[in-house]
């Protein structure tokens, strides 16, 4: 399989295969997919914290202008609005059960098509 790749990509391919193999040694049932599931949860968690922080700062900024405050939705409404926006984004939806990684497969192509500098991928230890 690796032999079919252009030469300059073979080293990265082998490294990623080694990474996958190690992940499967550590977790024989879920392997890499377990790591992806865990990381997706982290992303969702952070996005929620971001939404809370953004709502809070909007609130604070509006307190500085009380005449505008009356027309503005309350923080709860802002957060719900932002959550709707976040749900339209690439990665997944945040139901915390084992099968969520299966949902991920449908949207994974969005992530894969993003242009990333993958040269940095193996420069540091990504094993959590």
């Amino acid at each position: 399989m690796v032999k079919e790749l252009p030469i300059h990509q073979r080293a990265d391919a082998v490294s990623s295969l080694v990474y996958e193999a190690n992940a499967r040694v550590r977790d024989p049932v879920y392997g890499c997919v377990g790591a992806i599931s865990y990381l997706q949860n982290q992303v969702s968690e952070l996005q929620m914290q971001l939404a809370v922080a953004q709502a809070e700062i909007l609130c604070i900024q509006m307190q500085h202008e009380p005449s505008v405050a009356a027309a503005i939705p309350n923080p709860q409404q802002i957060m719900e609005f932002q959550e709707q926006n976040n749900n339209n984004n690439e990665l997944t939806h945040h139901h915390h059960h084992h099968h969520q990684y299966l949902n991920f497969a449908a949207s994974s192509s969005n992530v894969i098509h993003d242009s990333l500098s993958r040269e940095t991928l193996f420069g540091h230890d990504m094993v959590s």
Partner: protein, 146 residues
């Protein structure tokens, strides 16, 4: 009645025994699943992997292998590791963004505290100028307090 072969045995063109390790994980109605994992891992390797896993977890393991194989077919160089790296990047960016906003919040809160402190000092100044006026109007009485 002929029981249907599982997807793995169909793919390998062999008989499907009653205790076939693949049949719970690769049902006949989804030939794509076994085809994918066979292409990337090889059927016999999949069988060996499944043997090392307790029976009740084998279907989950087969599903995970299927996903990994799909991603590897889609991206032959990085496979699912590409997704992991982009997730790490997302996490990093989100943490940076969060830190920025929390700093802003702290800044605003400090500003608000400073603004709230100032009106008090104005009141104090007003009080002391009242005292001066009182002393001017009532020099005798004011001297009792000094």
């Amino acid at each position: 009645m002929i029981s249907e072969r599982c997807a793995a045995c169909k793919n390998q063109r062999r008989k499907c025994p009653s205790d076939c390790i693949f049949s719970p994980c690769f049902p006949a109605n989804d030939p794509q699943k076994f085809a994918c994992v066979h292409k990337i891992y090889g059927g016999s390797n999949v069988g060996k992997m499944l043997q090392g896993i307790p029976t009740y977890l084998r279907e989950q393991a087969a599903n995970a292998l299927y996903l990994e194989a799909k991603w590897r077919i889609h991206d032959p160089v990085y496979g699912c590791v590409g997704i992991i790296s982009s997730l790490y990047e997302q996490i990093q960016n989100a943490e940076i963004e969060l830190a920025k906003i929390q700093t802003q919040i702290t800044f605003y809160k400090l500003q608000t505290q400073r603004v709230e402190a100032e009106p008090n000092s104005e009141v104090l100044q007003a009080q002391s100028s009242n005292m001066e006026q009182f002393e001017w109007d009532n020099p005798t009485i004011a001297s009792w307090f000094n």
